[in-house]
């Protein structure tokens, strides 16, 4: 076992443990903060997989954007005084049953299948080829994505504003 393997296992444990804490904790603020470890761990795994640009994007969008957005939503909606029981749960039996059975199926699938692997190439920057692909073969979905983002911006504003208007009247 080399040092790289040791770091990999450390990152994997941090990722899965903080995800588990985010799922099972009763405090929604702690769950959102614990998700930080998961997102950073997944970014580190992208780094291990030689996807440097995706790792940076993961940190920028998830940690810098989605996590802050979730914290804003929690702070704006929950009663902070009762935050210790803000993350109530129900249906534990069926939920855990579904989760463990999916884990067993996917886990045996991942570990037992004889995947046809090729020896991975050396680490190399991917940004240039990613840019060529985005403006080449994937140009149409790339442009459609900008329309989707425009719709999301307008839709977010409209939904949030309608909610306020109804309560004012």
């Amino acid at each position: 076992m080399t040092l790289v393997d040791l770091i990999f296992y450390l990152v994997a444990v941090i990722t899965v443990a903080s995800a588990a804490y985010a799922v099972f904790t009763r405090n929604i603020v702690r769950a959102v903060f614990s998700l930080l470890g998961t997102f950073l761990g997944v970014a580190a795994l992208y780094g291990f997989l030689s996807a440097d640009f995706i790792a940076v994007i993961q940190i920028l969008v998830y940690v810098g954007g989605i996590l802050v957005l979730m914290l804003f939503a929690v702070m704006l909606t929950s009663n902070i005084e009762t935050t210790s029981s803000s993350n109530r749960s129900g249906g534990w039996f069926l939920g855990l049953l579904a989760g463990t059975s999916i884990l067993i199926i996917l886990g045996t699938l991942a570990l037992k299948t004889p995947w046809k692997q090729t020896e991975p190439s050396a680490y190399s920057p991917t940004t240039a080829s990613l840019g060529h692909e985005l403006l080449g073969g994937a140009l149409l979905p790339f442009e459609l994505l900008s329309i989707v983002l425009l719709g999301v911006v307008i839709g977010g504003v409209v939904i949030a504003r309608f909610g306020r208007k109804e309560s004012d009247t």
Binding site: M1, V4, D5, F8, T15, V16, A19, A22, V23, L35, V42, L45, Y46, L49, A51, F53, I54, V61, Y62, G65, I66, L69, M70, A73, L76, T77, S78, R88, S89, G90, G91, W92, L94, G95, L96, G99, I102, L103, L106, G107, A110, L111, W115, K116, T118, T126, S129, L130, E133, P141, L145, L149, V153, G156, I159, F162, G163, R164, E166, S167
Partner: protein, 103 residues
């Protein structure tokens, strides 16, 4: 030589996916359900990158994950706007208490 193979990444991804499923199915807080969906999307992205690294090694996996991340951000924005509107109208965001269709 590192002994980390494709199976390790797939197993981490399976763990994240099932944790996300448990979160979506058992939580009542709307933001917690969103957390579960983000976990599921992250596990799918991890699978894409792992297959692209240990498979043919082409860039398509990264392109796909870029699209997944952008759509996840868009979905988070709309979902949180809906959560805010829900809080304004219903005074609660626990999804099993928001059970009226109008009013």
């Amino acid at each position: 030589m590192s002994t980390i193979g494709l199976q390790h990444y797939l197993f981490i991804s399976a763990l994240l996916f099932s944790l996300g499923i448990v979160c979506v199915l058992t939580r009542r807080h709307a933001v917690a359900i969103l957390i579960g969906i983000e976990l599921i999307l992250n596990s799918a992205s991890l699978n894409m990158i792992a297959f692209s690294r240990f498979g043919q090694g082409n860039i398509q996996g990264s392109v796909f994950v870029l699209f997944i991340i952008v759509l996840a951000a868009a979905e988070a924005v709309v979902a949180l706007a809906m959560i805010l509107a829900l809080q304004k109208r219903m005074k609660t965001i626990e999804v099993d208490k928001t059970n009226s269709l109008k009013g």
